[in-house]
Amino acid sequence: MTDLIERPVSTSDGDNVDHGTETSHHHDHHGPTGIMKWLTSTDHKVIGLSYTVTSLIMMIIGGAFAEIIRAQLVSPTSNLVSFSQYNELFTMHGSVMIYLFVGPFAFAGLANYLIPIQIGAPDMAFPRLNAFSYWLYLTGSITMLSGFLVGGGAANFGWVGYAPLSSAANSPGTGADLWICALLLTGFSAIFSGVNLVATIFYLRAPGMTLFRMPIFTWNMLVTGILILLAFPVLTAGLIMLYCDRHFGTHIYTVQGGGVPLLWQHIFWFWGHPEVYILALPFFGIVTEIFPVFSKKPVFGYRGMVFATLTIAALSLGVWAHHMFTTGAVLLPFFSIMSLLIAVPTGIKMFNWIGTMWGGKVHYSTAMLMSMGFLFTFLIGGITGIFLASPPLDFFTHDTYYVVAHFHSVVMALVMGALAGIYFWAPKMTGHMMHEGIGKIQFWFLFIGTQLFTFPLYLVGLHGMPRRMANYPINPSWQTLNEWGSVGAILIGISMVLFLVNVIYSWKKPVVAGDNPWDGHTLEWFTTSPPPSHNFLSLPPIHSERPTWDYNHPDHLAIEHNHKKQAKKSAKASAASDAS
């Protein structure tokens, strides 16, 4: 069934109708219900929620693997799991978390739900393609996890699938093929999401929603979409070649037939490093929405933020081989310089976030605490990344737990960003508040757990402990540090249980949220919670990047960030008309 969708009408300036209550005339849809609704819906809100819930389930599955890994590492000679099981566990932990949780959560879960609403659009540009993406993602996830059910077990060559370890001779199992095929499915799913993001943001904005009035979250998703289109096809091509090597007798990555194993690393990281920014930018966007709302200020340095995001997009394609420094076959100075440069825009963002909070009336809600936890933890991850970008230091730390700690600082920061987004937008999505008290306890467990988990790993890495080992040399200091790391992992696990408790609690004892519980700035807070089908019955005038705020606070209008330029322009125009 297709519907012609008209633009929502305007809510004229100044009148104080409570636009939330006039939902009586919203058109009902006689579409399918129940499971058929889930199977057939092309509504971006339904798809966004499906993505969000599925990816959170993946997070719990991947987290369970992590807890087993940490339990194994409490003792240097533990035999909780066998060596080959250990290899499967760390491979699937990394794969589930990167391919099936963080990415889909960020660029397809929240983004799908929010982007059309933030720009005043009725849906994503290609709703059926959007639904198709979700089904590819779900079937891809099932394909990858079913590796545990086949003889020979799941893939066990690490989430990076390095050649020649991933060749048919070295990894003959069905699990490896399932891993490759799962990534084909999720890879296409990501590409289609990227297409949808870019097309929606380019073509479906509401009147007056110029690019430089878009919320920063939308900006970041636009750039994420562009990066997806640049990076994912490379990975997919690489995987197809890997499959051909394994089954059709080609020798692209095998030395025996004249191939080059290092080619895989180039291809993988040419996707892999843009991917880390594909993962990070959405969460940058989430916290950039949250800091201003809970500081009661507009975002500090809007244009600087946009510029930083675009710079990151530009530079992120030129740093891939910092993952390959120790191969001895890459141009060290080039990749080192580029990697150090990319820290600059990231730093700009850090200062902008601090500038947003600076002098504001900061309200420490759960979403705000999570965002601040994100800021702190990401800072540590970024700084240790800068050390790794220096080849002499990387030669010392490569493939040790120091690297593991670096990216866990980063990705645990992203987990905090994800939770910040959920606490912030759940009222919009469900119409009900999450419990703030449980949320804050959860935050402290998560925050302390994360630091307790990563700091010992940095140290044990500097002591030389290699990553991906099920057992390690008996050494009291290594063991103590590993024990602390496992304590941290337990705290993180408890925080996730608290999250589930909060979800169930808020569901059983619903507290109605209303349209705009946080006095939000952007368009999603203008419509009802949850929004009606096709999102808006009416739209406020859009004169700045804070339309909803302007509408609700006519006496405190947001100052346009480009007001100086505009003033100059109009001065020039009037000067010109005077002269004539």
């Binding site: 012609l4 579409g31 709703p127 069905t174 007056g208 394609l317 030129g318």
Partner: protein, 132 residues
């Protein structure tokens, strides 16, 4: 459209320049080819948008104008589907397709069947639905 096209074009040009520096300096063909490929991926949509902008007489759309009012955008946006089973069917076809790659060719039969069904369904649906 102008700014959208310019951003993509500039990104592409940047990748091209970076690729040139990299290729000449490192003599690594893999990375060089991939970066120059990225140049094309930036220019293709970027120049297309700019061309479209020129073709439409450099007219600013309401969403590109700072002073546009909501009323100006009145009218139909487009036709949007409400629900459709075909994305699910098509994805199941793809799922069977990759299972054929892993477990054996016989999975290819349901894969092709589902794929054909879905494509026929998609086409019929697009014909039927909407008035545009």
């Amino acid at each position: 459209m102008k700014f959208e096209g310019t951003v993509l074009t500039l990104l592409g040009v940047f990748y091209g320049l970076m690729g040139a520096v990299y290729w000449i300096w490192s003599k690594d063909d893999t990375g060089g080819v991939m970066l120059v490929g990225a140049l094309a991926l930036g220019l293709l949509p970027g120049l297309y948008l700019l061309w479209w902008y020129r073709r439409s007489g450099k007219r600013l759309r309401t969403e590109d104008r700072q002073d546009a009012t909501i009323e100006e955008g009145a009218g139909v946006i487009s036709s949007f589907p409400d629900s459709s089973i075909w994305p699910f069917v098509f994805a199941m076809g793809c799922f069977m397709g990759v299972l054929a790659l892993v477990f054996g060719t016989w999975f290819a039969f349901p894969a092709i069947a589902l794929g054909v069904m879905a494509m026929a369904g998609f086409t019929a649906e697009s014909r039927r639905g909407g008035d545009i």
